[in-house]
């Protein structure tokens, strides 16, 4: 779990890593193996996580531009 999360989070190029995940998981039969890579690449969110016992807390964050007053 930790290795999987670290790989997705630490990849310097989210898009390139997402394509790598697609190649790697194309023939996988259990689960997609793409979810977090997809979140990071498609939404351009920053992912962080903490593990406490059997609980994993995953946080996805992005910065949005403030709406200009009309």
């Amino acid at each position: 779990m930790r290795a999987t999360l670290d790989e997705v989070i630490a990849a310097p190029d989210a898009q390139a890593h997402y394509l790598t995940l697609m190649r790697r998981t194309a023939k996988r039969v259990d689960g997609s193996g793409l979810g977090l890579g997809r979140v990071r690449a498609e939404s351009e969110m920053q992912l962080t996580y903490t593990i406490e016992g059997e609980n994993v807390l995953l946080r996805a964050e992005m910065r949005l531009a403030a709406e200009e007053p009309s």
Partner: protein, 134 residues
């Protein structure tokens, strides 16, 4: 699955999915094979979509079509499990000899932002096989 005979044309083994949330139908249109998606697909739909795309692939080869169109314009969302079914389909086409390969065209709706991001990624995955239209 049922067969539809079109006068003077090929016969298409038609696959459909209708779960209420997700509706998929296939058709021979404009000389090619088109798969229309509507609604949304979560992990419960993964096996259905994977099975349907396997049949679509077999039909595309049997009919020797040059292109299969995946019409996403009515497709509101799909999760990553279903997305992977499309990746697997694209890989099956890639693994064919060049002469047997067919193109895949994704018709998208610009107003559905997830489609642009997902289809851009998919197009990067297989540049020579995939094109997108809005």
């Amino acid at each position: 699955m049922s067969a539809v005979e079109l006068p003077g044309q090929a016969t298409l083994e038609v696959s459909t999915i209708d779960t209420g949330e997700l509706r998929v139908r296939t058709a021979l249109e404009n000389g090619g094979l088109t798969v229309h998606f509507a609604g949304s697909a979560d992990s419960r739909s993964m096996m259905s979509i994977d099975g349907l795309l396997t049949k679509v692939h077999a039909e595309a080869l049997r009919l020797a079509v040059g292109e299969v169109t995946a019409d996403f314009r009515g497709f509101d969302f799909m999760n990553s499990s279903c997305f992977k079914a499309f990746v697997s389909w694209i890989c099956r086409v890639e693994e064919l000899d060049a002469a047997a390969q067919y193109k895949i065209c994704f018709l998208s709706d610009e107003a559905k932002h997830w489609q642009r991001r997902s289809l851009d990624a998919r197009k990067s995955f297989a540049v020579d096989l995939i094109r997108t239209e809005t």
